[in-house]
């Protein structure tokens, strides 16, 4: 095992890894920026070193400084967590050159999967399905008609140089194709100064389902089943679960997707933890999207259902040990659902809400797991992402795990700042979600159609009484009642005004 491991990250994932190191008896070193001197992750480590000012580019992304810190404190391995430098092939290569073990895949595997177009070619070569379509721009309406007909409608026109939804048009049938091609080309021209568009089969109501894979340096590669991550807001996962209700309903699908994921991983010489993301259509066809060459945020749901400790596995495998389980020893029991607790105000269009946490009282009880990066008295800085914690619940059935998580979200007392916990309390009770009828567009539709629940009259009265009782003790009221009347909070998400957040 390692002499000392430096964890090049912050927040809940740094704590997750530092705690695992402590339990394995491996000395650990944390790093921190000037904004994080008071952050809890320092106090989960044996050692802690400053690596620069608040901006990530000068601290958590500062490769030289991190490598230098590792060298100077005697660390022989670096765990990058997720985000930051975790998928940076140059960093992995620099570690290798410095004789420091990068706890993750080889730099070559990161590089192979890092370029999304190359990854797609690599997957195809390995026999892994990708979304059918042209990879070259269509040369005119005639060619477009022929290719669309061979793919079969509906199809999607996409800007070759595109991204962010610009230059994209869904086409339901041939009658719409010519106009759509004109519009998409024109939008692509104005957005990217390149009018080229290409055709892809349109996947209607796709699910985002990903396979957790794991490889060791001895050539073993296994999968640990799937996670369903179709509940997304602005392409960010907000609720994840293991297994997928869709895969559970389709016998053999897990095995087929697992085999495909392993094939993709093997094609790039993969070692350590990785995730192969698929788009899955309603007919259970699955298409390679991309591979995340690192530990995933949502790894706890897999751990809860398979009874594994993937961070421990990462350390063991990086130290040259074989995988603890063979494929036929992997088993799945029950269900686990996770929600990402963010410092954001669902009552004000999910606006970031950094600041000082007054109370932090997580719920407790059967099946619950909390991976937290915060504590009472901690000031959540505005410089980094808004994830505070991951709250997950295991149950013997999907229904029980959802019930436990919903109940836990409602009982989690986290005050001083706003969080998305009320949003989860409501979303996890949604009939469509409970029925497992979800897809990547589901959450946006739900947010648009949802009716805020009526306030419970008794609770409203109690709120009034306690506000009055508390005011008797300490007169606050910076606002006059009429000002206060203009403000409202809690359930009024849809009418919170137009979305003024830029990605």
């Amino acid at each position: 095992m390692f002499r000392k491991v430096l964890v090049a990250n912050r927040g809940e994932i740094a704590i997750r890894i530092l705690d695992a190191l402590r339990r394995l008896g491996i000395p650990s070193a944390a790093v921190f920026s000037d904004a994080d001197r008071a952050a809890p992750h320092l106090r989960h480590a044996d050692e802690a070193y400053r690596i620069g000012p608040a901006p990530s580019a000068q601290s958590y992304l500062n490769m030289e400084r991190i490598l230098d810190t590792a060298r100077r404190c005697g660390a022989d391995a670096i765990h990058p967590g997720y985000g930051f430098l975790s998928e940076n092939a140059s960093f992995a290569a620099a570690c290798e050159q410095a004789g420091i073990t990068f706890i993750g895949p080889p730099a070559s595997a990161i590089r192979a999967m890092g370029l999304k177009t190359e990854a797609r070619v690599l997957a195809q070569a390995a026999g892994v399905p990708t979304v059918p379509g042209t990879t070259q721009p269509v040369s005119g309406i005639g060619a477009a008609r022929r290719e669309a007909a061979s793919l079969g409608y509906p199809v999607m026109l996409k800007a070759a140089a595109g991204g962010g939804g610009k230059g994209m048009r869904a086409v339901a049938g041939e009658a719409e194709l010519e106009a759509a091609l004109r519009d998409a080309s024109s939008e692509a021209e104005s957005s990217f100064r390149d009018a080229s568009v290409y055709l892809e089969k349109l996947v209607a109501k796709p699910r985002h389902i990903e396979m957790q894979i794991f490889g060791d340096a001895l050539g073993n590669l296994i999968h640990l089943g799937e996670r369903e991550c179709s509940l997304q807001r602005r392409h960010q996962k907000v609720v994840e679960e293991c297994p997928s209700p869709f895969v559970e309903r389709h016998p053999g699908l897990r095995e087929r997707m697992g085999a495909a994921a392993i094939a993709a991983a093997r094609a790039c010489g993969y070692v350590n933890a990785g995730t192969v993301e698929f788009l899955v259509d309603e007919q259970a066809n699955f298409y390679f999207l991309e591979m995340n060459t690192r530990l995933q945020v949502e790894h706890p749901v897999t751990e809860m259902v398979t009874g594994t400790d993937l961070v421990e596995w990462q350390l063991r495998v990086a130290a040259g040990q074989p995988l603890p389980l063979r494929q036929d020893e992997v088993s799945w029991r029950g269900w686990a659902v996770e929600c990402r607790v963010y410092a954001e105000d669902p009552g004000r269009n999910f606006l970031p809400s950094p600041g000082r946490i007054e109370r932090c009282e997580p719920p407790a009880g059967p099946g619950l797991r909390l991976d937290s990066g915060v504590e009472a008295g901690y000031t959540v800085p505005f410089e980094y992402d808004p994830m505070l914690a991951k709250l997950a619940a295991w149950g013997s059935t999907r229904e029980q795990s959802i019930t436990r998580l919903r109940d836990a979200a409602g009982r989690f007392v986290l005050t001083g700042i706003r969080t998305n916990l009320p949003f989860f309390s409501e979303l996890l009770a949604d009939a469509g979600f409970v029925a497992g009828q979800i897809h990547t567009g589901y959450l946006a539709e739900w947010l648009a159609r949802r009716t805020p629940p009526a306030a419970c009259a008794e609770q409203e009265t109690v709120a009034a009484l306690v506000a009055a009782l508390a005011s008797a003790a300490a007169p606050s009221a910076a606002l006059s009642p009429l000002e206060a009347q203009a403000r409202s909070r809690g359930s009024n998400w849809r009418s919170a005004g137009r979305d003024s957040l830029l990605k």
Binding site: A343, L351, P352, P354, Y384, E460, A467, P475, A484
Partner: protein, 166 residues
Amino acid sequence: MKRIIAVNGRAGRIEMGRQGGEVRFSLTWEDAAGSVAGLCEAVEISPGRWSLLWEGRSFEAIVDGDAVLVNGTSFFAVARDPRDWSPADNHATGSGPAQIASAMPGKIVRLLVADGDPVEAGQGILTVEAMKMQNEMQAPRAGTVRLRAITSGGTVAAGEVLATIE
């Protein structure tokens, strides 16, 4: 004791008095949707944490700044002694130059206009970034913008007034 209250924007008046360990109260909502009166037992368990028993029902209420968390549901709730409040207080927001305040703490990443520029209603004035998200602050009406002492790269607090439109 009398208090003017507002709960999630709903205004009302409350009168209450201690009666032994209990609180007798009478609450009247201004929207005339009814009033409620009763006797409840309210105990401040620890600072800011209350336990209320009301007709057998058990409630936990936690004071969270100007919100109260009741059994997990957050209500924006403020109370004011009517003697501390005059109707004039309500005019503060109505008149004078329109203010542009930051909706969240963060860093100013872009100034989109210069001090003294004429602006249209809805025009972007500046962009504040927090937690990898950017929020564009816009002019609430047309006029001449007056920037406060702010610079690109500077940090701002939530509610801090960054500019006015005259």
